[in-house]
């Protein structure tokens, strides 16, 4: 089990990696979205906000997210640290994402673009 602080740190690493990737920022200039990341086994909620291609992180849960990413704390930390890709947990049901299918696919592409290879 990961702690709230570990999830926060993994999301900070993810945010930094994303914002350093100029190509990703260009790719997502049209995609303003609010993404809530929620753990199921510890009290931990975060909000990622994408505006004009740039992502920012806040602790706590936004009220009307476009996407909600739900999983156990360990899986969330692993995904956002880039230790595992989201595809496996998504396919086996460990990771749930609530939102439109188009947004889910796009989020998947973004995380692979950061950590892929």
């Amino acid at each position: 089990m990961a702690t709230h602080e570990e999830i926060t740190e993994s999301l900070r690493v993810f945010t930094e990696k994303y914002n350093k990737n100029e190509r990703l920022k260009i790719m997502n200039r049209d995609w303003n979205r609010v993404v809530v990341v929620q753990a199921t086994d510890v009290d931990s909620q975060h909000t990622l906000t994408l505006v004009d291609g740039v992502v920012s992180l806040k602790e706590g849960k936004a009220s009307n997210p476009d996407l909600t990413v739900i999983s156990d704390s360990e899986t969330l930390a692993d995904i956002f640290y880039g230790d595992i890709t989201p595809t496996g947990p998504y396919n086996n049901g460990t990771l749930r994402i609530i939102g439109s299918e188009d947004d889910i696919i796009r989020l998947d592409f973004i995380s692979l673009m950061i950590w892929g290879e």
Binding site: M27, W31, T87, I104, I105, R106, F109, E117
Partner: protein
């Protein structure tokens, strides 16, 4: 008579059956769609296994070739593994050979593709041979894989960047449920209106729009100005659709029988049945030699 059947995840409304003669031998070639129903496709494949001469898998790719690297789509592999006796192919072997050749033929013998031609490939990781051939010819190619598969408005402009992104993304994307990355079943009969509007400019700017027909159709805007479409698996209804959208010329890479241009999976299955040897042992040169003997040529249809 040899029997070749294409089992497709696509709509059953596109089903058809023809009899053709290839190199003096009679063939019955049929296509059977399963409306995106994966389990139904598995059942049908099991039912046909051992009873026909070759099977093609349609509406899904199994292997994506990016230069020498091969990526396997997990859902496609599951279908392939349902067949134990009959040779089963997805068309990727032939696609890599045939479509590369088609681009060269069109450049040599027509005015449709030349250096500087603005080409939109709606998807290119499933047609890397065509993508490379266009690029080698000096066409101004926009590879639309991220645009149309993921909704990311990022036109890839070089084969090198396409390859870099493919190597990064495909190992994982191929594990995703296929219906998330490609329109299957009923989705093939409709258009994604939001994306049609959002991405219309890519179609309008291009002189040639190439790639998978279902993707081309799903995102095609109205009011095109005589563009050329380079694809296959078109029906008479599709031809009417393209005409209505303002397309000027339709080029199909596979032969047209009774108004239908077959998928490469069907043609590859027929070639495997002719060659009579295990699919894995067939070389691109053997396919090319056979295509020449059969005089397979791109079919050009003027729509204006």
């Amino acid at each position: 008579m040899k029997r070749v059947v294409s089992v497709s995840l696509g709509s059953a409304r596109r089903d058809h059956k023809v009899q053709v003669e290839l190199l003096g031998e009679s063939f019955e070639i049929a296509r059977r769609g399963t409306d995106g129903d994966f389990e139904k496709a598995v059942e049908l494949l099991k039912e046909l296994d051992g009873k026909v001469d070759a099977i093609g898998l349609g509406g899904i790719d199994v292997f994506l070739w990016v230069r020498q690297k091969r990526f396997a789509i997990q859902d496609g592999l599951k279908l392939m593994e349902a067949v134990k006796i009959t040779p089963v192919v997805d068309g990727s072997g032939l696609k890599n050979t045939l479509e590369r050749e088609v681009v060269r033929i069109l450049a040599r013998e027509t005015n449709l593709i030349k250096k500087g031609t603005k080409v939109l490939m709606v998807s290119s990781v499933d047609r890397f041979g065509m993508a490379e051939a266009m690029s080698e010819l000096g066409c101004d190619v926009t590879f639309g894989d991220l645009i149309f598969a993921a909704g990311i408005p990022y036109p890839i402009k070089t084969v090198e960047e396409l390859e870099e992104l493919a190597n990064k993304l495909l190992p994982e994307i191929t594990k995703m449920p296929f219906h998330m990355i490609y329109p299957t079943g009923k989705k093939q009969e409709s258009q994604d209106e939001a994306k049609v509007q959002k991405f219309a400019g890519y179609y309008q700017d291009a002189e040639v729009i190439a790639g998978d027909f279902h993707l081309i159709r799903r995102f095609m805007p109205s009011g095109l100005k005589g563009q050329t479409i380079l694809t296959n698996t078109t029906t008479p209804d599709d031809v009417a659709f393209l005409k209505e959208k303002g397309v000027g010329t339709l080029v199909t890479t596979t032969p047209v029988y009774e108004g239908r241009s077959f998928g490469t999976n069907v043609m590859e299955a027929a070639l495997v049945a002719i060659l009579g040897k295990p699919w894995a042992e067939i070389t691109p040169e053997e396919y090319l030699g056979l295509l020449e003997k059969l005089n397979f040529r791109p079919q050009i249809l003027n729509l204006q």
